[in-house]
Every structure is written in structure tokens, then in C-alpha cells.
């Protein structure tokens, strides 16, 4: 392994490559802040430039920088304006945005940067150690286990089911899964529930939904409630960037746990950063002491650290099936796989033996990407957080504008904007009724994958028997049930006692 690392270092460390990683991180961070442009689109845009470079190590270093930068950029828009541009950063907005609203934008961004760094770096170490072994474990997961894993991911809704809101949270989750069934599914060619609207043929676009549910209602509430938005404007001093010793102690075990969990979830093809971030959030909420659990969803530093660490570790984990089996575990790694092939590299079981310098250069580029991202972004945080000090009469129009344009550039279709405005009005009304919106988006994101895996498992088993045929499926389903029911019972018991 040491030889491999030295080989990778030899291939990766040069002034040119260091410039590449800086450029990659910088571009990734700033373009990633635009809602609608996630790591996948940004990497796809950068591929022609990477191919022009020619040297595979330099090209991969540039793309890793862009990848990690884009993930951090996505977290920034989630935290500052509640506009998560990609599914993997939705969970970061649950506590990151309330922190920003409470005048802790700088601290939230610092936490995100440090947790992303830790998750990515620990993930890279785990990748180095476990890559060959894990590729065989990933093959043990069939569609039945994937279905069970999606159900486990849905248990994250328990975090929003406190204070007697369990039925509302469940209604929202079901509604989210219903929205995910609109259009064609991976298993069936015929479109469903489109009402004859051609633009719904391929389903509801994720960015349209997420902007409609989070960013637009937030902007509308700022207009509606002038008192609150003016109080918020006074709260936007960014002097508080540092994480205190107590907070560092509090998030250290979260980072350790979520790096491991995120990495192993990321290894499973199709699960990825989104699944890891929701699972991480749900698990940390369950593990938190009662007092801290109350803070989840209202600005808990643990609630931000968990998804930020898990999604970065999962991104690194998703490289395992790509590098060792040649299977892209996520959309982003599929694009990266295409870039590798264009650079005349064939990922797969023989990559480590045939082209060890490339394999190790990828791992070194991950370390470099994470380190440079931290060096670049920590000093920039006060300036990025200053976005919130823009006067209200410009901040609100720009939040609405970025939400609209995020939905537009993904599909190049003006109908998306009207759908988004409709969803925004609906979400505002739901907020008035005290309906939690995160379960809706969790249901939507996991709903498509849930149906695909349920369909495959049922077709294979001829019915629902798959749920108890394999111990692993049954075990995960029991775990999901326990994670959903335990906190509810605990909350109820506490309420009865009070």
C-alpha cells in the first residue's frame, strides 16, 4: 500500500496538478452554488477540458477538485438560502438553514467545510484499505436488500415526527412517494399520472420540486412576515465563525460514525450520498440525548455535521464499485467512468494491477481535493456568508430568481417554472398547516428507487415473500421498523409523563 501511495503521489504532485486542483475546487464551489447545477452536470461540462489536458492523473485531479467543490457549493446554497440544488445536500438544509437564520451562518459553513473534509478524507483512507474486499460485499446486495435499504432511508422522517406530528409526517412522505410515481418509471415504459401534460412524461424534475418546496416558500415567508425578516437581517452578523471546544467534542463522534456509515452506504451501487445523508441524519437524531434531539430541525450542529460528513464519505465510497468492478454506483461516477474511458483507462478488477499509477492517482487526488477545498474555502467563508447581508429588497428577488433559473436551466422549459410556482404556493399553505416538508422530499427522492427495487424483488420472488426469504432483507426491515417506532414511543412516553 505504501508503494502504491508513493506511486500515486509521484503521479499527482506537481505544480501543474496543484494548479488544476485549485482551479477545480474553485470552479466547483462557485458553479455548485447555482441551484440546478449539481456535481454531475458540472463534471460533464468539465470533461472536454479534462480530455484536452491529456494526462489521466492531471485530468482526474481536476475532476476530483470539481466534484468536491460542487458538493461543498451545493451545501452552501442549502445552508444560506435553503435552496439545495442536489438531493445529497437536502438533509444539510434541515439544520444548516435554521443555523443561518439564527445568525450562525459562518459557523454552519465552517462546520460543513470541516465535516466534508473529515468525511472525504476518512472515506479516502477506507477506500484505500477496503476497496478490493468491499467490491465483493456490494455484490451480495440484491434488489430485495436495496428495497429494505430504501425503507431504512425513509425512517429519517422520524426526525420530523415530534410534537404529535407523526401522521402529518407520514402523509407528507406518502404524498412525496406519490409524486415520484408521476411519469415513466424504470420498470414500465408507459407514463402514469401525467394528465396528458407532455412535460410530465419524464416525471417531476427534482430541482423544480426542491426549489418549490424549500427556496420559494422561504422567500414568500420573508415577504409575508416583515417583522421576522427584519429581525433576521439584524441577526446576520458573521463574527461567529469558530466552532467551540464543546461543539468540536460534540461533533467528533458524529464525524467518526458518519464517515464509516457514509462510506459503506456509498459503496452500494445506487444508494449514494442522498441515502447516506438521510440515514446519517436519522441515526444521529436517534442517538442524540433527549435535549439535543429536540434541537434537530431547528439548528442542531449535530444535525448539520451528520449529513455533511456522510454525503462526502459516501461520494468517496461510490468510487469503490467504479474502480474495482467498472460499475458506476451513482450518476456522478457514471460520468467519471465516461471520462476515464475517454482517457483510455478501463476501470475494473484489473485496473489496480494493470495501471496502478492511475488507481493510486485517483486516491491521492481525493486527498488533494479535500485538503485544497478546506484551504480555499475556510478563508472565503466570511465573504460567502456575506450573501445574507444583502438588503432584503434584493435578497428576496434574487432567491426567487435563482430558484426559477435553477429549475429552468435543468430542463430548458418554461412550464417547469409554472409547476415550481404552483408547488411553492402549495408548500406555503402546507407550512401554515404545520405539515413538515422534509418528509415529502425524502419520500420523493427515495420513492423512485423504492418502486424499482420493490418491482424487481417481487418479480423475482413472485410476490412479497422476498421480505422474509433472506435474513439480510428481514434484518434491515426490522431495523427500519425499530428506528421508526422507537423515537415515536419515546416521545409519546415523555409527553405522557409531562
Amino acid at each position: 500500500m505504501i508503494d502504491g501511495l508513493l506511486l500515486g503521489l509521484g503521479a499527482a504532485i506537481s505544480p501543474f496538478n496543484l494548479i488544476m486542483v485549485f482551479i477545480g475546487c474553485f470552479l466547483g464551489t462557485f458553479i455548485g452554488m447555482l441551484p440546478g447545477l449539481g456535481p454531475m452536470s458540472i463534471i460533464a461540462i468539465m470533461i472536454p477540458i479534462a480530455i484536452q489536458i491529456g494526462d489521466p492523473a492531471s485530468a482526474l485531479i481536476l475532476l476530483s477538485g470539481v466534484y468536491y467543490g460542487a458538493i461543498f457549493g451545493g451545501s452552501t446554497s442549502s445552508i444560506l438560502i435553503n435552496a439545495p440544488g442536489v438531493a445529497g445536500t437536502v438533509a444539510s438544509s434541515f439544520d444548516g438553514y435554521p443555523m443561518a437564520r439564527a445568525g450562525q451562518a459562518g459557523k454552519a459553513l465552517t462546520t460543513a467545510a470541516i465535516c466534508s473534509f473529515a468525511g472525504g478524507t476518512i472515506g479516502a483512507i477506507l477506500l484505500m484499505i477496503f476497496a478490493p474486499v468491499l467490491s465483493t460485499v456490494a455484490k451480495l446486495f440484491w434488489s430485495a436488500e436495496y428495497f429494505a435499504l430504501m425503507v431504512l432511508g425513509l425512517t429519517a422522517i422520524a426526525a420530523f415526527a415530534g410534537q404529535g406530528k407523526i401522521i402529518k409526517a407520514l402523509c407528507m412522505t406518502i404524498f412525496g412517494v406519490m409524486l415520484a410515481t408521476v411519469g415513466e418509471s424504470a420498470l414500465h415504459n408507459a407514463a402514469r399520472f401525467t394528465m396528458g401534460i407532455m412535460d410530465l412524461q419524464s416525471g417531476i424534475y427534482f430541482v423544480t420540486l426542491v426549489m418549490g418546496l424549500f427556496a420559494l416558500p422561504e422567500a414568500l415567508f420573508l415577504v409575508l412576515d416583515e417583522k421576522r425578516s427584519k429581525a433576521m437581517a439584524n441577526n446576520n452578523k458573521i463574527e461567529n465563525l469558530r466552532i467551540s471546544k464543546e461543539e468540536a467534542k460534540e461533533i467528533a463522534p458524529v464525524v467518526a460514525r458518519q464517515s464509516l456509515l457514509g462510506f459503506f452506504v456509498g459503496v452500494l451501487p445506487g444508494a449514494g450520498a442522498t441515502m447516506a445523508s438521510f440515514l446519517g441524519y436519522g441515526i444521529e437524531r436517534n442517538l442524540a440525548p433527549a435535549e439535543e434531539r429536540e434541537k434537530f430541525g431547528k439548528g442542531s450542529i449535530r444535525g448539520l455535521a451528520a449529513p455533511e460528513t456522510a454525503n462526502n464519505a459516501a461520494c468517496t465510497g461510490s468510487f469503490v464499485p467504479m474502480l474495482t468492478l467498472g460499475i458506476p454506483g451513482s450518476g456522478t461516477t457514471a460520468i467519471l467512468l465516461g471520462a476515464l474511458v475517454a482517457l483510455s483507462i478501463t476501470p475494473g478488477p484489473r485496473l489496480m494491477e494493470d495501471q496502478p499509477e492511475v488507481f493510486w492517482a485517483v486516491i491521492i487526488s481525493m486527498y488533494l481535493g479535500n485538503i485544497v477545498l478546506l484551504i480555499l474555502n475556510l478563508p472565503l467563508i466570511p465573504y460567502i456568508a456575506k450573501l445574507l447581508t444583502v438588503p432584503r429588497h434584493y435578497l428576496i428577488p434574487f432567491v426567487i430568481f435563482f430558484s426559477l433559473i435553477g429549475a429552468y436551466i435543468g430542463q430548458n422549459n418554461a412550464t417547469e417554472l409554472l409547476i415550481m410556482i404552483g408547488l411553492g404556493c402549495m408548500a406555503t399553505v402546507l407550512r401554515f398547516g404545520g405539515f413538515p416538508l422534509p418528509p415529502l422530499i425524502i419520500g420523493f427522492i427515495l420513492g423512485g428507487m423504492l418502486e424499482d427495487n420493490l418491482g424487481r424483488a417481487m418479480r423475482k420472488a413472485g410476490g412479497l415473500e422476498f421480505m422474509w426469504e433472506r435474513p439480510m432483507t428481514l434484518g434491515i426491515l426490522f431495523l427500519a421498523l425499530a428506528l421508526l417506532v422507537y423515537p415515536i414511543l419515546k416521545d409519546r412516553k415523555k409527553a405522557v409523563r409531562e
Binding site: I167, F175, M178, V223, K227, Y394, L404, L417, G424, F432
Partner: protein, 157 residues
Amino acid sequence: MARIDRYIAVALLAFSIGYGYLAWTHPLLPFEARMPFKPNTMPLGLAGLGIVFSSLLLLLPSNDTLEKDAEGWRGFAWKNTALLIGLAIGYALLLRPIGFIASTTLFIVLSSRVLGETNFIRSISTGLISSGIIWYLVDDVLGIYLVALPAIIGGTP
């Protein structure tokens, strides 16, 4: 706020019934009808769950407190909010016919005016500069096509 959650529960119940009806009447191909998992299997299950839970919302006494967002709603700036929603709809409808730069500038100028900006020169220059930069970044740097100008002066919708 007079039990708005009950009205939402009724809407969710109606939505679930309508969704269930569409799932039930979804045309199946002959081979699909014999499959253990049909295109409408999960939607039917979801409709059932939706009906059960929205009915529970209606039937069980509500013991939760309303969101803080809903407090003091009578003092809310409803007119400005409606105007902003109208401007967003206008932006969606005008984006292609008059181009990105003009529609974005118009949206920024009018919405900032609704929210209290009185200096037109500042709002027009903010709109023009920001829309120009974003158009350049998206269209020229990233290669994602965005029509910049109105069709009559060279834009292609």
C-alpha cells in the same frame, strides 16, 4: 388560524382518492396484467395508505401546535406576496419571448420595487449587471443555451 390543517387533510384525502382512481383505471397491457408487480401495484398501495392517514388526520383530535410561521397571519403582507407571485408567473411567461436579460432585469426591478427599493437607477443596473453575468456564465462558459435577447432583435426562442 382556523384549523387549516383540517382543510389540508380534506385536500389530501381527495388527492389520494383521485390518485387511487387513476391508478385503478390505468390501462395495463395483457402481459402486465399477469405480472406479480404491475405498473399500478405501488400506486394502489400508496392511495390506500394516503386515504387511511389523511382520514386519521381528520378523525383524530389534533394535539399539535401550529407552526410559528402561522402566528400573527393577519398582520402578514399578503398584497406584496401576491404581487411577487404574479411577477414570478410573468417572468416564467416572458422568459422565452423577450429573452433572459430583459425578463430578468424586469423581474429584479419590479420585485425590488414591491419590496421597497425606490432608486430605479440602482435596481436597473443591478438587474442588468447580474443578468448579464449569469447569462455569460450559463450560456457562454457552461454551454447551456439561454436565449439572451428578444426575438425581434436577434434572440431565437
